[in-house]
Symmetry: C2
Subunit: 320 residues, 2 copies
């Protein structure tokens, strides 16, 4: 009897949309970090509060690699590059002797990447350009549907941090627009960011190559060119935020020095602001990450992380 009354009340509450006290961040430890986030969200969403922020200005930006999903032992997009080089190798017999491709095809990643930025760029251009944007989207979709993490054997899209998925959903439920602002490729993230994070394509900011509009077989297409358009990292992050959003975030989340300018830019606005440094204590079970140098200088530390286990948490409105 009692149980059916509870159930009835639950249904009524759900139908009427009345808010009731449920922990919106259940997988977070009860630390100062969690308290700071909840207190911030409450003060900026309380009408009449001196810190009240209207809905359109509730912008929160998130780094991706190492903040929303894993970046150890290598950033995920690098596995995509490796798999694409292998897939394309039969059409490029010259790669057998040409660096950085030769080392990479022999499985010697260290030598392949010894050429630094130039080598990395060459690999990216060889694997990310020449096709149309629609073709590239399909390549990414096909890859991400089956690609797995080398240590956990989980799909990469399951190597997301559950506390951060909860945080994204919590902010959206409070009228925030959540953006990804990543050094990764914008077109590498868009094909799956809505499904995995609830972040639609227009709220993904990332690095990009130039594209060119042309008619191909009578069809209007955008062709991806082997030329860097924008690097959305370090000082590029505030630039990318301004270009895409045109508003200064009131919350920002990052985990590395490449996120510092974004956190500084966020803090530099007027009114209530919260910048958040996500220190991954346990990045992967066997791969403890060195904490960023000035992590202590940042104000808050995530005390615990775990990977996604209950994907149903992400159910709900995908964009806000």
């Amino acid at each position: 009897m009692r149980r059916s009354i509870t159930k009835f009340l639950f249904v009524v509450l759900a139908l009427t949309g009345v808010a009731y006290a449920v922990d919106p961040l259940p997988s977070w430890n009860d630390t100062a970090s969690k308290k700071a986030i909840v207190a911030f969200v409450e003060k900026v969403t309380t009408e009449g509060s001196p810190d009240f922020v209207p809905v359109p200005e509730r912008i929160a930006t998130f780094d991706n690699d190492g903040t929303l999903w894993c970046e150890q032992p290598l950033p995920v997009q690098l596995y995509f590059v490796l798999d694409r080089v292998k897939a394309l190798a039969p059409q490029h017999s010259e790669w057998k002797t040409q660096e950085p491709f030769a080392s990479l095809l022999r499985g010697d990643l260290k030598t392949a990447l010894a050429g630094g930025e130039r080598a990395a760029l060459e690999l990216v251009m060889a694997t990310h350009t020449g096709m149309t944007t629609v073709e590239f989207e399909q390549i990414v979709k096909d890859w991400i549907a089956t690609a797995r993490h080398p240590k956990t054997s989980k799909l990469f899209t399951d190597m997301t941090y559950e506390p951060m998925l909860e945080l994204l959903a919590y902010l959206r439920a409070n009228g925030f627009k959540t953006y990804i602002v990543s050094g990764g490729g914008i077109e590498f993230m868009r094909p799956w960011a809505e499904r995995v994070y609830g972040v639609p394509p227009e709220q993904v900011v990332g690095s990009s190559v130039k594209t060119k509009f042309e008619m191909r077989d009578g069809k209007p297409v955008l062709v991806r060119l082997p030329e860097v358009n924008f690097v959305d990292d370090n000082d590029g992050k505030p630039v990318g935020i301004n270009q895409h959003i045109g508003r200064r975030p009131i919350m920002a989340f990052g985990n590395s020095t490449g996120d510092l300018p974004m956190l500084q830019y966020t803090q530099g606005g007027s009114g209530a602001r919260l910048r958040f440094w996500c220190c991954t204590m346990m990045q992967l079970a066997n791969t403890p990450m060195a904490l960023p140098r000035d992590c202590q200088a940042s104000n808050l530390v995530l005390s615990r992380r775990r990977f996604t286990t209950r994907r149903s948490r992400m159910a709900g409105p995908w964009s806000a």
Copy 2:
């Protein structure tokens, strides 16, 4: 008695949100153009219809100059340039003899712009760069608050086309996200686009200069550099759409050949699409505009336009 019942019913309908038949585009003539728009919106928003489009994919893009507001006798941003050159002249005594500034300061616009693209670029860089993004935003806000059209003496922000304001509101009420995709400056439009069109900063796509993140007096700022970042016109429009939105529009509206690639790109997607060429029959009372060359080839013609008279029409949710 009858009147109070009608009033009562109206209030009830308004409160319960029940839809009732009111013309959403009252200032449009009852032409094939209007019918095509309404029929398109109805078919893409009717669940179960073979042409149904989910809300997140209802993207509509609008050119600005000549489509949403006037562009005769000159594009509005050019008046901003003229006024800025005059305002800055006291700090630039060299402009008295240096072209294109000298001619412009003498009021001889024709000679000033005889230098073509190079002269125009020089004027833009001298007036649009060197300051921070926040400073530039304030300059634009101050200017647009008082700047008036030379022929009508109306504020430029009242030189918008009422039928198009109705259309923006109608689409948003039907779940569309409305974007501006203009050859004009992105940071020139953002400071007033939300107030005037209901289009928030993150839904404005335009041309831009490069910016640089730096700390100035301990404050994080973005400085506008005298270097072109992106030209959002002609073939640049589909590129800008992909960069900012990452989805192909299902409706696009333009009025000149610079909008053709955007219209082609829109039409090239799968599913229901509508591209719309807004031919301004009466751009200004005394300034009939030559119709774009292939206007006949496009499918629809706006039969009548008039400038904004009832701004209350724009009341309602500003973004969707």
